[in-house]
């Protein structure tokens, strides 16, 4: 019954049925965001033929502001997605069983960037200020952090006023917010490019504040992993992807060029992508692709410690597997 319905969906222009791997070794990867050096490793593996060597035919789907990777995965539009662990765990708790199979990013690139003139020198200065935050599943790290600091996020004297920030840096430039969310490899440089010098800014990296959560891991649906064929494909996929990532770290400029070639929108510039790649390389350098359970545990604790409104309410079970990376990295 289920499969016939999904076949009907597929005929209706929607994606293929959930829980069914595509025909021989076709794999669709759904990115978390638009084509940019944040995902260089996958584009390098595609361009350099690393996927092909493994016998895989990989399609990379760029994301965007209106694409929730977990939803694409649940709808059968992708076999594997790039997502941040906070939203992946929250989605898992809501009944979409996402499993982390690899973690190419060791460190978090998330931070708050403030103009010094707004007198935000330390987290103690947050109350009473307006802070820009991304939503759409990206708000969890921020909300956890505020919960750890004990600062309410509904405005007022002792709380912070949260502004839903579009995916740009305008609120800081227009003085609508004292601080905004930025990634070390992207929005921070947009602020710099807008003509603000680094010494006019102060930043709070989630890594330094001890509230970093894992970003840009690879996730699949739990049920798919029961299929040995799919598992084998994922081993190959992770192995080739990590080969791509390490190549990108060693050849950042060429990797940025490859990303630019795959950017159909033409929105990315060479200067920005090369800078992004060199920043991204710092975050992926510590990882061979295998998830470190200690990092996972830290992420879970940050999310559980969310005070009255935790991101996840109970310790997740089976939210990651090391099987894929163990097999991928052993040979």
């Amino acid at each position: 019954m289920k499969s016939t319905f999904l076949a009907a969906l597929a005929a209706g222009g929607l994606a293929l049925g959930a829980g069914q791997a595509f025909s021989a070794d076709e794999i669709t990867l759904q990115l978390k965001w638009v084509t940019q050096a944040q995902f260089a490793g996958y584009y390098v593996a595609l361009e350099k033929g690393f996927y092909e060597e493994e016998g895989l035919d990989v399609t990379i789907k760029p994301g965007g502001p209106d694409i929730a990777p977990a939803q694409v995965l649940a709808g059968g539009g992708a076999d594997v997605i790039v997502d941040w662990m906070p939203s992946a765990l929250a989605t898992r708790e809501k009944g979409v069983p996402l499993v982390n199979i690899a973690q190419p990013y060791k460190s978090s690139g998330m931070m708050l960037t403030c103009l010094k003139e707004n007198n935000v020198m330390s987290p103690e200065d947050f109350p009473g200020k307006t802070l820009g935050v991304w939503f759409y599943g990206n708000e969890y790290p921020f909300l956890s952090w505020m919960a750890h600091l004990g600062i309410p996020t509904d405005g007022g004297e002792d709380g912070v006023t949260v502004l839903k920030q579009g995916f740009n840096v305008d609120p800081l430039l227009q003085k609508q917010a004292a601080c905004i969310s930025t990634m070390t490899y992207n929005e921070y440089w947009q602020v710099i490019d807008a003509g603000i010098s680094e010494d006019q800014l102060n930043t709070f990296k989630y890594e330094d504040e001890g509230v970093a959560t894992l970003e840009d891991g690879l996730y699949v649906l739990e049920d798919d992993l029961k299929d040995p064929k799919f598992k084998d494909d994922m081993v190959k996929f992770v192995r080739a992807s990590m080969k791509g990532w390490k190549w990108a770290e060693e050849n950042p400029d060429e990797a940025a060029e490859i990303v630019l070639d795959y950017d159909d929108t033409g929105a990315q510039t060479e200067k920005h992508q090369k800078r992004m790649m060199s920043e991204v390389a710092k975050l992926t350098a510590g990882s061979n692709g295998a998830l470190d359970p200690a990092d996972y545990q830290r992420t879970v604790e940050v999310l559980l410690g969310g005070g009255s409104d935790p991101v996840i309410t109970k310790e997740p079970e089976g939210a990651y597997t090391l099987e894929i990376t163990d097999a991928a990295l052993s040979n």
């Binding site: 019954m1 289920k2 649940a74 809501k94 939503f135 759409y136 599943g137 609120p171 609508q176």
Partner: protein, 289 residues
Amino acid sequence: MNDGFVWFAIAFWLGGWAFNEWLVRQKFSNPALNRLAWFAVPVIFGAAIIIIWEGVVIAFNIPPILLPAPSDVWVRLINSLPILWADFRQTFLKAVLIGYAIGCGSGFLVAILIDRSPFLKNGLLPFGNFVSALPIVGIAPIMVMWFGFDWPSKAAVVVVATFFPMLVNTIQGLSASSSMERDLMRTYAATWSQTLIKLRLPAAWPFIFNALKINSTLALIGAIVAEFFGTPTVGMGFRISTEVGRANIDMVWAEIAVAALAGSAFYGVVALIQRVVTFWHPSVRSGRS
């Protein structure tokens, strides 16, 4: 229970269909019964759609992240009334109503000015055309830049969305009176303003109310879409776009239900006022509007 409900859904749908077919063919002698039948047909149809939806979700095991069952949406709606009310107040009572009043009011006044002077007609009408062609997703971020991220920027988007339909319809309406009637006013030595108030505006009401009805839905759409950009953490558009990312699709549908109710009620109120104001119009006199 599962299979049982699916069969019930199919049975209800077929039964409701048959009953409606029978109902629309009836002529009751009692006008109250007629009114009830007229009211029952869409209600039965709506109920059938919701029950079929529930049945489909159960029958095909559709994951809630793709399409939640109406029963789940209802539970979520009942349990989130304070949030939904806060969103409604932010989006509807502030952005929509204020933007609607300013947009329709300015559209009306500019139409009067244009009607007064050919010079303005040549200058302002193309400009109005131009404004109407601006895409909401394009102007919304700019309005956030100008008016901040709270409701005034959303109201500004609503103003832009509602201004033009009002302008065009009012201009059209002002030329609705016939030359014979205008000649009569001239023989009475009526001034321009007297002619406007006593003849031309009343003749224009049907057009103006058309614009008010169109704008009631445009305003709501405009405000919700505008909230997909920079917003405070409250509002219907904010909630819809945020909860999609959080995989709370039931909340998204609950918010959509509120928006649909608010939009229908708004439209209904405007239509009701129209009936009162244009009681002389043939479409109202014959008991249908």
